[in-house]
Amino acid sequence: MNRKIFIFLLTFISLYTYSKELNYSYETIADNLSHPWGIAVIDENDLLFTELSGQLRLVEDGLLKPEPIKGVPEVLFAGQGGLSGIILDPNFNLNKKIYIAFSSPDKGKSTNTLEVISAKLSADSLEEVKTIFKASPSRRTAAHYGARMAFLDDGTLLVTSGDGFNYRERAQYLDNHYGKIIRINTDGSIPDDNPFLTRENAKPEIWSYGHRNLQGITVINGIVYENEHGPMGGDELNIAEPSKNYGWPAITYGKDYSGATISPFTEKEGMEQPIKYWVPSIAPSGMAFYDGNLFPEWKGSLLVSALVPGDVRRLTLNGSKVTEEEILFSDLGRIRDVVTSPDGTIILATDGPNGKLIRVVTK
């Protein structure tokens, strides 16, 4: 009798686990993409996305338009650099404005920098292209640009600016844009309530500092969540606030790639702690808040795409605490970005020269 009960329970648990694991399936929106990087959802069937190699692509009525959108500025496609973050204006339906972040080569020099443009999207090209931010100073490296964007509720734009790898210490100083979150108006001007506006020798665009390579940022009910790559270990999820110092590289949970200790300290007064960190690294690459109804059990979760080993982390939040972490979509390889669609589906960009856009739907 006991044996029968045991077999019944085992069968029930197996079936339950199986159904729980496979309550979704994948649909490929587009494949053979050249390093897809950032996605901006227009509506259920339309979206824009960037390819790191320099193309801006449009998916219209669920189908990828064969020709890239024209009028995209020249980008430096090298290392981690290229056409990167993209976001729609909050009034996109009215003004068709978009914002793109990319690594921009300095003409006639071997340096480059993070640049953000605004532009108006017409049928198949960008018009009224205007530079609204250029990180200063320029860099010699082609790494750690950050290059993600999010809008605050007041309509100002946050731009993540990475530490440039070789310039990590500068993340602690306010006279440069390395390792910072930048806050600007959409015309490129500086909001008059930026925290370091009046500080001498500080760049007025700086909103928060002490960051490394921030590749995910999202605003939920006015709270700014950002994730950033640590070195070897020490990837972080932070709640970002104006004027705060997030500590890199004075405090870190990671080690240098050489194995060296970057800092033996993990905390210090005046420096913020992450609400979650990952050791070993997961290489967090993008972030979205799931508020859809298609997967009700995921509603209210933060989705963090990860490059290593390649999955999406679903994080359950309780105030400023992460209470649960679930690994999803671990069979797709490195995932570069994650966004949600108004219909509740989740759209993923897989990384690499043969990348894909994949829609996660219910089975």
């Binding site: 090298a78 290392g79 981690q80 010699r140 490296t141 082609a142 790494a143 790898f165 070789n166 990590r168 210490e169 602690q172 070897m232 004075a250 080690k255 240098d256 790639y257 050489s258 194995g259 060296a260 200790t261 970057i262 800092s263 033996p264 300290f265 210090k268």
Partner: protein
């Protein structure tokens, strides 16, 4: 032969320890500059941790990298010394310096211009690392000279 191998090994270990010392000091000095509470104990602990981690848990074992550099540089020096009569200590000192400088300069080429050895990012850092290579090479050359004399 056995003595030469031992001296070569000591030369490589010396260079590795010095390079790690420079790496540790460059990080620690910066931390002090931003008022982090660095003590002698923390410095020593960090150095010994780095000795282990940079050889056994980093992306590339530093000692292996230095060994390859030194072997190539010393081999070239040995060949050159057949024709060119200069002091072995100076010749190998130059070889050691060249080997470390080559490692510091060539590594970024393999990693998108990224300096994996953070201590070698500045010109001063590169100069100190090169000097440590020079010292290690000088040690090896001096040992070879002593063997010839005895």
């Amino acid at each position: 032969m056995l003595i030469n191998s031992f001296n070569l090994f000591i030369s490589i270990v010396l260079a590795t320890c010095l390079v790690i010392l420079q790496e540790t000091m460059s990080n620690i000095f910066w931390l002090i500059s931003v008022d982090m509470p660095v003590s002698l104990g923390i410095f020593l602990n960090t150095y010994f941790n780095n000795l282990y981690a940079m050889n056994l848990s980093g992306a590339i074992p530093l000692i292996a990298l230095i060994a390859i550099g030194f072997l190539i540089a010393y081999l070239v020096t040995k060949i050159i010394l057949i024709w060119v009569k200069v002091s072995k200590s100076y010749a190998y000192a130059f070889a050691g310096a060249a080997a470390v400088l080559a490692i510091v300069l060539l590594m970024p080429l393999a990693f998108y211009n990224l300096d994996i050895l953070a201590g070698g990012r500045s010109i001063l850092g590169k100069s100190i690392l090169t000097f440590f290579g020079l010292l290690s090479g000088y040690y090896f050359g001096k040992k070879l000279e002593k063997q010839v004399v005895t």
